[in-house]
């Protein structure tokens, strides 16, 4: 395997929450991301999936240092980003960009589309002439499917799908090596979703960018990603190449997650075997002992309550954290 672009090693993110019990305030440690490790190669797309509160967005933000890491390392081309001082980090920052879920909220309403897309250029390339900046902005707008004549419009004059294109244009204008997409299509209608998915796929292919694609929509992740990481309550429970993960999921949570996605075809949907999980996600403030999934797992037994299963290889590039991964299925 070639050297990885990004290597995340036992990354921890904790939030201290103030508890209201008793007279004196006490603090509870919320482990939003708990010792998560993975690597990402150049030009590779990694999907991160899981339900609300599993830590998928927090993990991405910790990699980009938008939230501080409590422990672990984030190696970018061998250099630990968590150890860099602010100036050194800012110089690296142009190499990884992020696209957010809510396209309108992520754009400054008082800036025109052109100014929004040009801002990273002005920050990192102050030497560029006005004409050169404008040419680059127009070319990027065309690349994401926006008409360059709309350069002077404000975000509210665009539809949701077009705003997401502006967000993508801003993220790719510096030609980053890594693009992090945090639920980039979840706020969009199905027909617009398909446009943005096609766009991201083409950009990733044409520019050879690596991508981290965060989504709760498994079908979209399957369509776009080379490998998939499954998170549950802040812990990595399974990591495998996409085809393998969907064909032979080993973790009972991954199996349930895949089974729960309805297929838009009555001929298929009505004959699928459903694994309906019991209950809700436990509170991340009081996670179960041992394996976090054991309270809802159909396979759980005494061992699962005692110790957290380690993430172990089940095949060469397929790792899973389950005491019973060999027995399940």
């Amino acid at each position: 395997m070639t050297a990885s672009l990004l290597s995340v090693d036992k990354l921890d993110v904790r939030f201290a929450l103030r508890a209201r019990r008793g007279l004196l305030p006490t603090w509870i440690d919320l482990r939003a991301v708990d010792s998560v490790s993975f690597t990402l190669g150049a030009g590779e797309t990694l999907g991160i999936v899981g339900e609300s509160g599993c830590g998928k967005s927090t993990l991405a933000r910790a990699i980009l240092r938008l939230v501080p890491a409590a422990g672990g390392r984030v190696l970018w081309l061998g250099e630990d980003l968590t150890k860099l001082d602010d100036d050194a980090f800012r110089r690296q920052r142009r190499e990884f960009q992020i696209v957010f879920q809510d396209p309108l909220a992520a754009l400054d309403p008082r800036m025109t589309a052109g100014a929004i897309i040009a801002e990273p250029l002005r920050t990192f390339h102050p030497e560029l002439s006005r004409a050169a900046t404008e040419a680059k902005v127009a070319a990027t707008m065309r690349d994401v499917g926006l008409a360059p004549e709309h350069i002077n419009r404000y975000p509210h004059e665009f539809s949701g799908g077009q705003c997401q294109r502006i967000g993508i244009a801003r993220a790719i204008v510096l030609e980053p090596k890594l693009l992090v997409c945090d639920e980039p299509v979840s706020a969009l209608d199905v027909s617009i979703q398909a446009q943005i998915i096609n766009l991201l796929k083409r950009l990733q292919r044409d520019r050879g960018m690596a991508m981290i694609f965060i989504s709760h929509n498994l079908a979209v992740v399957q369509h776009l990603c080379h490998r998939v990481l499954v998170l549950y309550l802040g812990k990595a429970v399974e990591l495998a190449p996409t085809e393998r993960l969907f064909a032979r999921p080993l973790h009972p949570y991954t199996q349930a997650l895949i089974a729960a996605v309805p297929v838009p075809d009555p001929a298929v949907e009505r004959h699928r075997t459903k694994v309906v999980l019991r209950g809700d996600l436990p509170s991340p403030l009081a996670p179960p002992s041992g394996c976090p999934f054991r309270t809802r797992c159909p396979e759980a037994d005494a061992v699962c309550a005692q110790s957290m299963p380690a993430l172990l290889p089940a095949a060469s590039d397929h790792t899973v954290a389950c005491h019973h991964a060999g027995r399940v299925r």
């Binding site: 339900e51 609300s52 539809s159 799908g161 209608d189 199905v190 027909s191 617009i192 979703q193 398909a194 446009q195 998915i197 096609n198 796929k201 709760h216 929509n217 498994l218 079908a219 979209v220 399957q222 369509h223 996409t242 085809e243 969907f246 349930a256 997650l257 895949i258 089974a259 729960a260 996605v261 309805p262 297929v263 838009p264 075809d265 009555p266 001929a267 298929v268 949907e269 009505r270 459903k274 309906v276 999980l277 209950g279 809700d280 996600l281 809802r296």
Partner: protein, 322 residues
């Protein structure tokens, strides 16, 4: 021929706004038979929710409905609130997307449920409490007896939606309208709620209108499907037939742009170019004409009506008559 359970004819919904009158629902006609489950699918702004809020008499103050909505033989449009209240909540119930905003945060779940039975069915409090608790347990609230007197904030999202379903079913309605009942939920919880809806349907034999933007949600449950675009029904038919061989280009495009988990394609999705029209400036012909790959001259000038194209199937497209 006997009258259907719900007969909607020529339903128009318009909203008065500072920019002019916005047509949200245009000439919708649909009949729903007892015990049947009809899925209504469409993207945001397609009018799917407003059409059924009009059925319930729950339009916002600036909204006005015209046409005809007959439920169990009685006209619902134009009724005053008191006479509507005798029907809705009892024979006709609705659950909404966001269960937190539909439950009253100041009242315990037990109080909200028992009130329904005391008002509509004249039960005394102990009887109403017993029946409410039975239903809360039936919809799968864990430790229902303990949670019965809790406030809604103590319930998780999935539990709130279960409580909403229990509340809607208290009076054994003949028709349940479920508006995006699982959209706010995680996928494993969505699977629980959909399984519950299917069970409740078998038990109560209530007809269900399932409004959603998710074709997958409809695929498992609906007998028939209605597809809405820009305020109008563009296709109606049996679910299996509509999914297998859609007649309207919009239905086809919607199915093409949906990513399917069971088809690991890596090719491009069939995206629909452009976006739905602004309801204030609808094109004079077919509302889908500016995005449709098969548009021809007639589509630009003449609006296609919804008409029968095969037994039990209807579509609003000029291609079917060309």
């Amino acid at each position: 021929m006997t009258e259907p359970l719900l007969a909607i004819q020529g339903l128009d919904v318009r909203f008065a706004t500072p920019d002019g009158e916005v047509p949200a629902v245009r000439d919708v006609g649909l009949a729903i038979e007892p015990g049947e489950c009809v899925g209504i699918v469409g993207e945001s702004g397609s009018g799917k929710t407003q059409a059924f809020l009009a059925v319930m008499g729950l339009l916002a103050a600036n909204g006005r409905a015209s046409g005809s909505v007959r439920f169990e033989g009685e006209e619902l449009l134009g009724r005053d609130r008191a006479s509507l209240d005798r029907i809705r909540g009892r024979r006709l119930a609705m659950v909404f997307q966001d269960p937190m905003t539909s439950l009253n945060p100041y009242l315990t779940v037990s109080r909200q449920m028992t009130e329904v039975l005391m008002v509509h069915q004249g039960l005394d409090e102990p009887a109403a409490r017993a029946e409410s608790l039975r239903l809360l347990d039936r919809v799968g609230i864990p430790d229902a007896a303990q949670r019965f007197d809790h406030y809604p904030h103590a319930y998780s999202g999935g539990m709130r939606q279960r409580a909403m379903l229990a509340m809607a079913l208290l009076c054994r309605p003949a028709l349940l309208i479920a508006d995006e009942p699982t959209t706010a939920l995680d996928v494993t919880v969505q699977a629980q709620i959909l399984a519950l809806l299917a069970e409740l349907r078998r038990e109560t034999n209530a007809a269900i209108v399932l409004i959603t933007h998710d074709l997958g949600v409809i695929a498992g449950l609906a007998d028939r499907v209605g597809v809405m675009y820009a305020g109008a029904l563009v296709e109606v038919g049996p679910a299996a037939a509509v999914f297998a061989s859609p007649r309207h280009p919009y239905t086809r495009a919607l199915l093409g742009s949906t990513v399917r988990l069971d088809r690991a394609g890596t090719g491009d999705l069939v995206a629909i170019d452009g976006q739905p029209p602004n309801p204030l400036r609808l094109p004079p012909g077919c509302a889908f004409s500016d995005r449709c790959p098969q548009t021809f001259a007639r589509c630009l000038g003449e609006r296609p009506p919804l008409r029968d194209v095969a037994p039990a199937r209807a579509a609003a497209c000029h291609l079917d008559t060309a």
